[in-house]
Amino acid sequence: MTSVVLEFSGGLELLVDGKKRLEQEVPDKLTLGGLIGWIRSNLIKERHELFSQGQRIRPGVLVLINDVDWELEGKETYNLSSGDCISFISTLHGG
């Protein structure tokens, strides 16, 4: 297993029992797309579509790999390493 830190904010934490930060063991050799699918199947109990469609994160969610926009790091194809911190941030629209 690989040990990673998962962060959820902007309301996504409600999908994982209100936890904003989780230290989590995940299967080895996952891509980030694979991680998204794994979270959807293993951590999220209901309203899965608010998180992703399979390995595709839903629009309106920023994904950070160690604090950097995943767009700069290969997005779903990024290979997870032990110790990585992956943040899922739902953007807000209220005012």
Binding site: I57, R58, P59, G60, S90, L92, H93, G94
Partner: protein, 292 residues
């Protein structure tokens, strides 16, 4: 010294003295600020403090644009630019009254039509800087697309619950627009609002006030200032955590500010784009587009 006295009256010198004292701001910064115009879209929890600090600081011309709502008592726990006596009054006019009480010399124009795709370019064109203080996805895309088309710097804030976010778009050649970061809209049922999910009053206050800081840096062209572009401030009031995350640069294929491969996809004028269908298409039941 004589030049200063010629440019500004004594009242003005006194009123703005504490920011003119700032080395990087000075008299020249005040002059630049007094020649700039800022459009605040949304007279609510974000727009109230943003407009109050901008009017206080002496922005040359301030535009207030709201969709014609009247002040509701449920606004008052967070929208500190309105008063109990103004419940039922037009929000733009109510906020304008508060701004005039603080700085009677302000030049303020109000428009209660809201931002619409049809008139977005005309509404934004006369202003140097735009603040997105709205509360819905459709307005955010319309405003950003118009700012991208006109290359107007856009200071965007949002808040709900205990959380707030801030970013600046379109302020330089490298800066992304909102659509660069969010090419697809969120599913409508993923979007909360302060009226349904609730919000702690000073949380949009923190973000709206930060929007005023960013707008003042742009308007006064403060030396050495770095605005929050290609970055986003995240504020979580519940845990008192803040962070600033790095975002991607402008996308070459962005439909609003880039050159998409299929040039018919380019949004030249929001008036020609169907925002209703676009934001509905994000529905969770619909297959996602491939660009996010």
């Amino acid at each position: 010294e004589n030049g200063v006295r010629q440019a500004f009256s004594n009242d003005v010198l006194e009123r703005y003295s504490r920011q003119m004292l700032l080395l990087r701001f000075g008299v020249e910064g005040q002059k630049r600020l007094s020649q700039k115009s800022v459009l605040v879209i949304g007279a609510g929890g974000l727009g109230c403090p943003a407009a109050m600090y901008l009017a206080s600081a002496g922005v040359g011309r301030l535009g207030l644009l709201d969709r014609g709502d009247s002040v509701d008592r449920s606004n008052l726990h967070r929208q500190i630019g309105h008063t109990d006596a103004s419940v039922g009054a037009d929000k733009c006019l109510s906020l304008r009254d508060s701004l005039m009480r603080i700085n009677p010399g302000s030049s303020i124009c109000t428009l209660s039509t809201g931002i619409t795709a049809k008139f977005a370019l005309q509404l934004i064109l006369p202003f140097d800087i735009v603040l997105d203080c709205t509360d819905n996805v459709e307005s955010r895309y319309i405003i950003s697309d118009a700012c991208a088309a006109l290359r107007k710097p856009l200071v965007s804030g949002s808040a709900i619950g205990f959380e707030g976010q801030l970013s600046v778009y379109c302020d330089s050649e490298e800066s992304p627009c909102y659509r660069c970061i969010f090419p697809s809209p969120p599913p409508p049922d993923c979007v909360g609002s302060c009226d349904t999910a609730g919000v702690l009053g000073p949380v949009p206050g923190v973000i709206g006030t930060m929007q005023a800081v960013e707008a003042l840096k742009l308007a006064a062209e403060i030396e050495g200032a770095e605005v929050c572009s290609r970055r986003m401030v995240l504020y979580d009031g519940l845990s008192c955590e803040t962070r600033v995350i790095r975002l991607r640069s402008r996308s070459k294929t962005c439909r609003a500010c880039g050159n998409p491969e299929d040039s018919s996809q380019r949004i030249v004028n929001p008036a020609e784009f169907d925002y209703g269908s676009f934001t509905l298409a994000g529905s969770c039941a619909t297959p996602q587009s491939t660009d996010q």
